[in-house]
């Protein structure tokens, strides 16, 4: 019968309450959590990637109509939202820094700032969606679209061409799917950060253990980057005309 015993190693005796039992060291736990979050973000890239793929295919096919539909969005609001998200990534980084330095109140402050900026983003998005709803640009039974193609305004009225409504509806389907999915991820992010804020206020994060802040930060940066792609693709097509 084969011997059941194996050579063993001494494992680190730990009194770190944050260290989970199945990890040998705090460093191993942190590394594992980081790798896990990066992998999760890779899956998110693939997830959004499918929609980007669909968008690219149809934008190539219906360039003019997509340009017309894109001009129905407000560049001003989109740009403000972009600035808001970039600032929120800054507040996230500052929060991580505060956690590293063990500054509890500063940490809570920056976490709350991130949440506020996230909510501002969502509020502006809701406003944009409401406007689309009013103008009957939401795909579905009540969709109605009668707008010019880009660059037509200078032509005599008889020559002006209108965008194909079905293709414009395609644009809006993808617009709502992509920004909607993004907004869903923002909402989840805001929820995550709310939990973190509570635990931070309770003093759970120390310079020795702030992995959740760091990983939630990674998630937030990713959601930010998705928007950085969405904004030019959706808002800035063909604007020079």
């Amino acid at each position: 019968m084969h011997n059941s015993s194996v050579a063993t190693a001494n494992h680190e005796v730990h009194d770190n309450p944050a260290l989970l039992h199945h990890f040998a060291t705090a460093e191993q736990q942190k590394d594992a959590a980081s790798l896990g979050m990066w992998l999760f973000l890779v899956t998110e890239v693939m997830f959004f990637g499918g929609m980007f793929c669909a968008y690219l295919v149809y934008r190539y096919k219906y360039f003019g109509d997509f340009g017309s539909a894109s001009q129905q969005l407000s560049i001003k609001l989109g740009a403000i939202n972009t600035a808001v998200l970039i600032c929120s990534s800054l507040t996230v980084v500052l929060a991580v820094r505060a956690a590293q330095l063990g500054k509890r109140t500063v940490l809570v402050f920056w976490l709350l700032a991130t949440i506020v900026l996230g909510l501002v983003f969502l509020g502006i998005k809701a406003d944009e969606y409401a406007e689309k709803f009013e103008k009957h640009h939401v795909p579905g039974p009540s969709f109605h679209y009668h707008e010019l193609l880009p660059g037509q305004a200078g032509l005599p009225p008889a020559d002006r061409r209108y965008a194909n409504p079905s293709h414009a509806e395609m644009y809006f389907s993808l617009y709502f799917a992509m920004t909607g999915m993004h907004a869903l991820h923002m909402i989840i992010g805001v929820g995550l950060f709310s939990f973190l804020t509570y635990f931070a206020w309770r003093g759970k994060y120390t310079p020795g253990y702030y992995t959740p802040i760091e990983n939630a930060g990674l998630y937030w940066h990713f959601v930010d980057i998705v928007w950085i792609y969405l904004f030019p693709l959706l808002y800035l097509i063909d604007r020079h005309r």
Binding site: T8, A54, S173
Partner: protein
């Protein structure tokens, strides 16, 4: 070393540590979670199998006289969806992978035990959605959900089916994520990448596919659901959409998905062949690189499902060429297993019988894949029973054989009991015979021209004789699958207690007691030996149990 005991004085194991439903439903122990999965996938296996039996019964006669056309369409759809998403994709990773990977690498658990439990709950929620879909009248899109049929023309429960697949997909993603982080970060000292059992390599490659591929089918299915709900036109030509876009998004995942289904099985076969030949594997590096190669190249061949779908000739040429590339590593594995047996010291316990079956049937299934990759032939045989036969050879003749082999091999470790060897061998042989009788005639049927998904073939009665043979085989196959259900359950109560290493096999899992204690190892092992160190293990496999 100190051995923990429980109240009754017995040795503490992961099974007796705590009793009660809450201790199971809230467990984070990877071994308990594996058993929770085992219950789920066994249930869905029999549900999917039941649908298959009804399909085969209908096909006994040319006329559609058992069920109505719509019912038949639901039966083959739900057979496919249940078997693919709720049995084949999770089975080996979520049961055997979950149970064994931490132990094989010398860890106490997976990297994220709570996410592991979450994966199971997602699987169950997806399963409930699937069950709801079935009970609410079923769905008849075909497991492939092609548009615009699924988005515009069917009145069945497409959205709940899509949701079921979507949720179960996240179970798959999280399992894959967990395995990758575990294998990267939790290996015991001395357990280098080159010392990993091939079972672990296979699951590593599988996990990469799960993580990268599943999100794409998730978004494809979300878009189908949204299109149905809001009458969008993303895949509807009447509104400017393209049905082929759906097919690309769908197959981009669903082709790699078949590698999710087969790679873990290949990992099992490596373990079994080495143990029952008493030899290290022939060409360890090649075997490890082969599974990675299959995973990577497997992402590049998806449109070989679309050769007659309306893609350009040049696209078809490229995908056919790449499909031949991916065949090479699979062939290498078959040769290496065969070479492992050369000059071995071979015994024929049940796991090895299943391994033999796998090698033979995977060879046939894989070779017929070459027929399908061949453009000129594929035009004739695609969408016929030839394809059905091909993928059943791989998924049933391959994956399920490997799964059964693995269950028998590791059953003593998991349950602490021995299954009855005679009944094990008998079931394996019944499965082998039943399987070939069911599916070999389908190759012929396919070349004759019998299309897939046909409820009625009364205008082509020449198809009947082969269909009768196939149905006869299916009933034999059913018996072969029922038997292990019975004797595994029997063994839990009445089986002989299993020693730590009933096979004298190599690997860390055999160096701990059967069943293992909750935290696997009393102290972290330090690995100083290569994988499959049968040169150091002098004993042979014990003859009779």
């Amino acid at each position: 070393m100190a051995t923990a005991v429980v109240e009754t004085g017995e040795r503490e194991t992961y099974l007796n540590r705590e009793y009660g439903i809450k201790s199971w439903l809230l467990t984070v122990d990877h071994k308990r979670i594996a058993l929770l999965y085992l219950i789920g996938i066994t249930f869905f296996f029999f549900v999917g199998g039941f649908f298959a039996l009804l399909v085969r019964l209908e096909l006994l006669t040319p006329a559609g006289d058992l069920v109505q056309a719509d019912t038949y369409n639901k039966l083959f759809t739900m057979h496919g969806q249940v078997m693919v998403f709720f049995f084949l994709i999770p089975a080996i990773p979520a049961v055997l992978g979950n149970f064994l990977i931490p132990i094989m690498i010398g860890a106490k658990d997976l990297a994220f035990p709570r996410i592991n439990l979450l994966s199971w709950y997602l699987y169950i929620i997806g399963g409930c959605l699937m069950a709801y879909t079935i009970l609410a009248g079923g769905v008849d899109t075909g497991w492939t959900f092609y548009t615009p049929l699924s988005t515009e023309f069917l009145k069945t429960n497409v959205i709940t089916a899509a949701l079921a697949v979507f949720v179960s997909g996240f179970s798959s993603i999280f399992t894959g994520l967990n395995f990758i982080v575990t294998i990267h970060r939790m290996r015991a000292p001395g357990m280098t990448w080159n010392r990993l059992p091939l079972f672990v390599w296979a699951h590593y490659a599988t996990s990469i596919i799960q993580v990268l591929g599943t999100p794409v089918v998730a978004i494809a299915i979300v878009l189908v659901a949204l299109e149905r709900l809001f009458h969008l036109g993303i895949f509807n030509p009447a509104l400017g959409g393209d049905p082929l876009l759906f097919q690309h998004l769908f197959w981009f995942y669903s082709h790699p998905a078949v590698y999710i289904m087969i790679l873990p099985g290949m990992g099992i076969v490596s373990e079994i062949v080495c143990c029952f030949s008493r030899k290290r594997v022939f060409g360890y590096q090649a075997m490890a690189m082969a599974v990675l190669g299959i995973a990577v190249v497997g992402f590049l061949v998806w449109a070989h499902h679309m050769f007659v779908a309306g893609i350009s000739v040049y696209a078809a040429l490229i995908f056919s060429l790449l499909s031949y590339f991916v065949a090479v590593p699979s062939a290498i594995k078959v040769f290496n297993w065969t070479a492992t047996m050369y000059k071995g010291s071979i015994t024929y316990q049940t796991p090895m019988i299943y391994a033999f079956g796998f090698i033979g049937l995977f060879t046939i299934g894989g070779l017929t894949g070459l027929f399908l990759a061949c453009l000129g032939v594929d035009v004739h045989v695609t969408d016929t029973y030839f394809v059905v036969a091909h993928f059943h050879y791989i998924m049933v003749g391959g994956t399920i054989m490997a799964y059964m082999g693995g269950m028998h091999f590791w059953w003593p470790k998991i349950s602490g009991k021995l299954y009855p060897e005679f009944w094990g061998k008998l079931s394996a042989m019944i499965v082998f015979i039943g399987f070939n009788l069911t599916f070999f005639p389908q190759f012929i049927l396919g070349y004759m021209g019998m299309p897939r998904r046909y409820w009625d073939y009364s205008k082509a009665p020449e198809f009947q004789i082969l269909n009768v043979l196939s149905t006869a085989g299916a009933s034999v196959l059913a018996v072969g699958y029922l038997m292990p259900m019975i004797y595994f359950l029997w063994s839990m109560r009445y089986g002989k207690p299993a020693p730590d290493n009933p096979w004298n096999a190599a690997g860390l899992e055999w160096m701990i007691p059967s069943p293992p204690s909750t935290f696997n190892f009393d102290e972290q092992p330090v690995v100083t030996w290569e994988a499959y160190n049968y040169d150091e293990i002098k004993e042979e496999v014990p003859v009779a149990q």
